[in-house]
């Protein structure tokens, strides 16, 4: 009953506010800050937020402790003595098999995989989307539908035929091969993204450029590209996080010395030999998660847009 009353009174306030200023936001902030409704609402949200933040906190805290402190202490307690040694060790000394040159190798591999994959996949998909939106040829929609349906096929169905194709070309196990694989599997969602964006652009723009004698590539480079920078940013965010976080393709299409960071991280942490150094493991885990986290926190709302579009990728 109290809740209903609270909502009724806030509704009254809202109506009063809207009569005062019809053009303003449709509701005012609830006035009584400590109503039972607000305590419940913010209490729940804060508890859930703490639960979501807890693993990040434990990761950071663990990575800053020494091993003796980890063995004796509580994973939630802050470090008594902050040490950055685990971070240094994770970056430059952690072992995978016989290699002990740390996670840095995986990091640079991931950079060398992610940068060309992002560029290539976006270049291909944006041109595809542009062709589908403005230069429809016979059969184009059929290929597009196959592409979208293909996004739902489990990767496991297609990984082996691709191994054969790459082996035939002679690039199985190389970074080039992996870049091509990422471009292939990024294509459905990115093409959809670009097609929808280009379709929503005013048709007159395209027609005027045609009348002025611009061709396929001219219109793409001089008009479409400069006018659609926001969607390119969304696509970059989507691809950087997606490709950086990939594990399956990395493990299938590369060799141990070209493993991306996620694969190397898993090998470091889940290796069976040696004493487990949990602080080093957690430092390595944070290091691997850092790139997508930075992308996430910097990009804000654009990230939400990207994943809403990319959610189909699953």
């Amino acid at each position: 009953m109290a809740e209903a009353a609270a909502s009724m009174s806030s509704d009254a306030l809202r109506r009063e506010a809207s009569s005062r200023d019809a053009s303003g936001p449709s509701g005012t902030k609830p006035r009584h800050a400590l109503s039972r409704r607000n305590i419940f609402l913010y209490g729940t949200l804060i508890v859930v937020a703490l639960y979501y933040l807890l693993p990040l906190y434990v990761m950071i805290v663990t990575s800053l402790k020494g091993m003796p402190e980890i063995r004796l202490g509580n994973i939630f307690s802050p470090p008594l003595e902050i040490t950055f040694e685990p971070w240094v060790k994770a970056w430059s000394q952690a072992c995978t098999g016989l290699n002990c040159d740390g996670l840095s190798r995986g990091f640079w591999n991931s950079v060398r995989i992610t940068v060309p994959s992002v560029l290539l996949s976006i270049a291909i998909a944006s041109v595809n989307g542009y062709a589908l939106a403005n230069w429809r040829f016979k059969g184009a929609d059929t290929f597009f539908i196959i592409l979208i349906v293909g996004a739902f096929i489990p990767y496991q169905v297609m990984i082996y035929p691709i191994v054969i194709i790459l082996r035939e070309i002679g690039i199985y196990g190389t970074l080039t091969g992996l870049v091509i694989v990422h471009s292939i599997f990024g294509m459905p969602i990115l093409t959809l993204l670009f097609r929808n964006y280009f379709t929503s652009m005013p048709e007159e723009l395209f027609r005027a450029a045609r009348v002025d004698g611009a061709g396929f590539w001219g219109i793409y480079l001089r008009i479409m590209l400069p006018m659609s920078l926001p969607i390119f940013v969304v696509a970059i965010i989507l691809q950087v996080t997606g490709i950086w976080n990939d594990f399956l393709f990395g493990v299938v299409y590369t060799r141990p010395d070209t493993y991306p960071m996620t694969v190397q991280l898993n090998n470091i942490v889940n290796s069976v030999q040696g004493v487990k150094e949990y602080n080093v493991n957690m430092a390595a885990t944070i290091l691997t998660g850092l790139v997508p986290l930075i992308v996430y926190f910097v990009s804000g709302k654009l990230f939400v847009r990207g994943i809403a579009a990319g959610a189909v990728k699953g």
Partner: protein, 297 residues
């Protein structure tokens, strides 16, 4: 006339056609060709190398007689039901809470969604550490004085899949919340006003008015979650590597292990074809409802 027009037709849009070659190749060679190839070879007895030596449904009989595959399927079902149920319920509740015109909405949303930016490997390793019986949550509670407290899902084969689901929910609920929030924002404000005027309590409005109105959002979300469930692989590899024993195996891992470790390609192809089949079972009714139904209504 028609002869001179024919090459014209082919050359029309030539640039667009050339530019679409990567898309056409991907669609035809990789998606259609690759899938057909795998399905075809699942009827052969390929071992180390793919060979066209047909053995009918043998690989499938063997597959369904393998305990590890049966465990994988059972795990996938449990994991799937938990993921669907909890991520929908939690995601919707969080979205409804955020939709109350609260302060700091962006901050809360940022916090709920950040795990989604992390890879399954990172997620799995963090939760492996939190659920570690010697150092993690179990130890902390025991140190508080409850010495018989037991919470070691990753080391107990009867509940290990639930331990994996905990990590999966932490990672993925934020996305569902965002989709639901977008759905809630699409609901006309007047519906709420009308419900309030009629004195319908808030929870009833949600349950009987808002949720039925959000049916398309729910269906899309459902398809997204389901497509993700079938693919679950990295999380299991990072958290348990399928253990203890084979207790947390999943189909995607079965496929990978048989193709690249056990050198039993036929089994891998048969298992991946079964995965494809399960996706088809989910997607086709949805596609029919979504696109087939519109023609009639």
């Amino acid at each position: 006339m028609s002869n001179s027009e024919r090459p014209n037709q082919l050359l029309r849009n030539l640039n667009a056609k050339v530019a679409s070659i990567p898309m056409i190749l991907t669609a035809l060679v990789v998606f259609v060709g690759g899938t057909a190839w795998t399905v075809l070879y699942s009827f052969t007895n390929s071992k180390l190398l793919p060979r066209l030596n047909f053995v009918g449904l043998d690989q499938y009989y063997r597959l369904w007689a393998t305990p590890r595959w049966l465990v994988s399927i059972e795990n996938l079902l449990i994991y799937g039901v938990i993921s669907l149920l909890f991520s929908l319920v939690i995601g919707f509740i969080l979205a409804a809470l955020l939709d109350q015109k609260i302060r700091f909405e962006d901050t809360f949303r940022t916090i709920f969604l950040y795990p989604f930016a992390l890879s399954f490997i990172v997620t799995g390793l963090v939760w492996q550490w939190l659920l570690n019986p010697d150092f993690g949550i179990q130890r902390v509670v025991r140190d508080l004085g409850w010495t018989s407290f037991s919470f070691d899902p990753l080391y107990n084969s009867s509940i290990v899949i639930y331990g994996i689901s905990i990590a999966a929910l932490w990672q993925g609920t934020g996305l569902i919340m965002c989709l639901m929030l977008a759905g809630l924002r699409g609901i006309d404000e007047d519906i709420w006003k009308a419900a309030r005027v009629d004195g319908i309590p808030m929870w009833k409005t949600y349950l009987f008015i808002i949720i039925p109105m959000m049916r398309p959002v729910f269906i899309t979300t459902l398809v997204i979650i389901a497509a993700g469930i079938v693919k679950v692989y990295d999380l299991v590899v990072a958290q348990t590597s399928g253990g203890p024993g084979i207790a947390s195996e999943v189909p995607a891992k079965y496929v990978y292990d048989y193709m690249f470790f056990a050198q039993n390609l036929g089994q891998g192809f048969a298992a991946s074809t079964m995965m494809l089949l399960s996706v088809v079972i989910v997607i086709v009714p949805w596609a029919y409802l979504e696109f087939g139904g519109k023609k009639h209504g």
